[in-house]
Amino acid sequence: MVDARLRRPDFLTRRSLGVLASSVILLAACGQASNSGSSISAASAQSASDVGGMSSLVSAAKKEGQLNVIALPPDWANYGAVISGFTAKYGIKVNSANPNGSSQDEVTAVQQLGKTSRAPDVLDVGMAVALANTSLFAPYKVQTWNDILDAQKEPTGIWYQDYGGYMSIGYDSAKVPTISSIQDLMGTAFKGKVALNGDPTKANAALNGVMMASLANGGSLDDISKGVDFFHQLNVKHNFVPVQATTATVKNGTTPVVFDWDYLSAAHGKDVPSWKVFVPNNAVLGGYYAQAINKNAPHPAAARLWEEYLYSDEGQNLWLKGLARPVRMAAMQKSGKIDATAAAALPPVSGTPVFLSADQATKASAYLAANWAQAIK
């Protein structure tokens, strides 16, 4: 839901795109592409060829010199290495804001910061937020566009999925017994130890956690009620704790069992060497995030170069090192460009992965809105 006050930036951007488009035409008519002309055309470029090829894009981006990103914590899918890799390769400074922000925070920042120089250039959001805010994005197709499956991208390039993983149960094997099935969590050994990564009426990861529990308990992608019942039972037994799970609470033993995406869970291994990740074989629930470029990006060339970097073999392999599954993984395995050691380190998964469709996600969140608070009271 976007309220009336927030519609104003949309109106402004439509007008400003008109101004940009007409100035591009004027400059082209003059037969001269000035220095500022290349970054103006970068704002409406829909692929690298529109600006005259990769090298033009790189020089335009270097001229801009900066990139604003938002909600990219360094320990999330190895984004720390991705950011420093980008800066090392192109010399462009990356300003990383609001590291703990949610996907919705990213969109709110885009709306609130409008055309200022601190507005986010690029976004990495969950699918629900991406689908709800397509009017804020500029279409762009990276050079490796064809490697992305049709189901994982928007045909005109408004959004495109980037990396994903499977919902898992991460646990400290030194503090709790080995988990081989989700029902193990009902045991007395898990009293006061199980946490979700966020509230499912708020956070995408938590909603998928409850859905995974539902699948593992006989529910389906259309029926999240079994998952809610599972957590209700867990709460009645005092096994479930509502505290926010952070790296500190995991290390200190307050939340030794956490439902989270497998690549996020694996990051805890840095602090807790005995951390293990378990994906139930009858409930392999996958989820991908999506990339998008802000229509009003203050650094449009740098934003597009960033996307090219992310979808290059180098960028995709860096995500793989963070134990996330990059969207071009199948294509890279075929071409042999995949980082084999990193691919081998991925948590083993048996069973067919399933994905929530947009409608199923909406249905699930409606059910949660009505029933979650009561279930874990």
């Binding site: 979700l196 509230d199 307050t254």
Partner: protein, 299 residues
């Protein structure tokens, strides 16, 4: 001196004769009101007006949406939490402030305690929550020691992640805040008042009931009101401790503003903020009545 002085004093005194004086008096308040109008009243207005809008324009649906059970109970929980936390903070803080005020006024101990209060009054969020988790969480050292030697304090569930836990954790910043805002009033107590009471035959009880009490009451009640509002709008600490279920109003607002699963309802969040302003206005009115009543019977 007398003629010049008395006319000068008359000039400074209460606005006599109304009309001609008032505009001049009001000029002194303009800088403050002007600044506040731009940076406080305008944003508040934007939020309050936003409560009456949704994608489809002007609507009352946000206000009617407030009637849901879990939203009403969130507000009730918030009021109970804030009132309890304010009282505990006020009493604890007043005691600590008294202990500080009766010490050496230019000593270094007082300086250290005041600076510590300054730091702790603003300490909150995830790190404060973790400080308590590390002490009396399920794996906190105090919990483990108690479990081994005295009793399992979490036999019936972990109360740290419920309202009672929040009251305890909130005391951590409420007490120092009370010290900082109430201490100046305690500093104003003169030893002569005590001596005067004793020379008139009064004991400690008479001193507090008839002399110091009435003089300190307005500052004390006002500070308690501040503590109430402080606890009422506190968000980050509660978010870290009770991440599920949005049981108090600020958490409910947070959910409605930043939900990334399609439950993003900024209009509803603004309506909830409007209710928060209304509740604090009501409490402020009660406070004003209480001030007037206390002033009367304490005279």
């Amino acid at each position: 001196m007398s003629a010049a002085a008395s006319t000068a004093i008359q000039r400074v005194g209460r606005p006599v004769g109304g009309g001609r004086r008032l505009p001049v008096s009001w000029i002194g308040a303009v800088p403050f009101f002007g600044y506040v109008a731009l940076f406080l009243l305008l944003p508040t207005l934007i939020v309050v007006v936003g409560a009456f809008f949704s994608d489809s324009g002007l609507t009352l649906s946000n206000l009617t949406g407030l009637q849901k059970d879990f939203i009403v109970s969130a507000f009730v929980n918030s009021v109970i939490l804030s009132a309890t936390s304010a009282l505990i903070g006020a009493v604890g803080g007043a005691i600590l402030a008294y202990a500080v005020a009766t010490g050496n006024p230019s000593g270094s101990f007082r300086r250290l305690v005041l600076s510590a209060c300054g730091v702790l009054a603003q300490f909150g969020g995830v790190t404060l929550a973790f400080a308590f988790i590390a002490t009396i969480g399920q794996a906190g050292f105090l919990t483990l020691w108690l479990q081994q030697h005295v009793v399992d304090i979490y036999a019936g569930g972990v109360w740290l992640y419920q309202l009672k836990g929040l009251v305890l954790v909130y005391a951590y910043f409420q007490i120092p805040l009370m010290v900082l805002v109430f201490l100046p009033a305690l500093d104003g107590i003169r030893p002569q008042w005590r001596e005067a009471t004793e020379s008139l035959g009064g004991r400690t009880w008479h001193y507090w009931r008839y002399v110091a009490g009435p003089l300190l009451a307005p500052a004390f009640i006002g500070a308690t009101l501040l503590l109430f509002a402080n606890a009422f709008s506190a968000y980050a600490t509660a978010y870290a401790l009770i991440n599920q279920g949005a049981i108090i109003a600020p958490l409910q607002i947070g959910n409605d503003l930043t939900s990334e699963v399609g439950l993003h309802q900024p209009g509803l969040a603004k309506a909830e903020a409007l209710v928060m302003v209304v509740i604090v206005t009501v409490v402020m009115t009660l406070y004003a009545l209480l001030q007037r009543r206390t002033a009367k019977w304490l005279q």
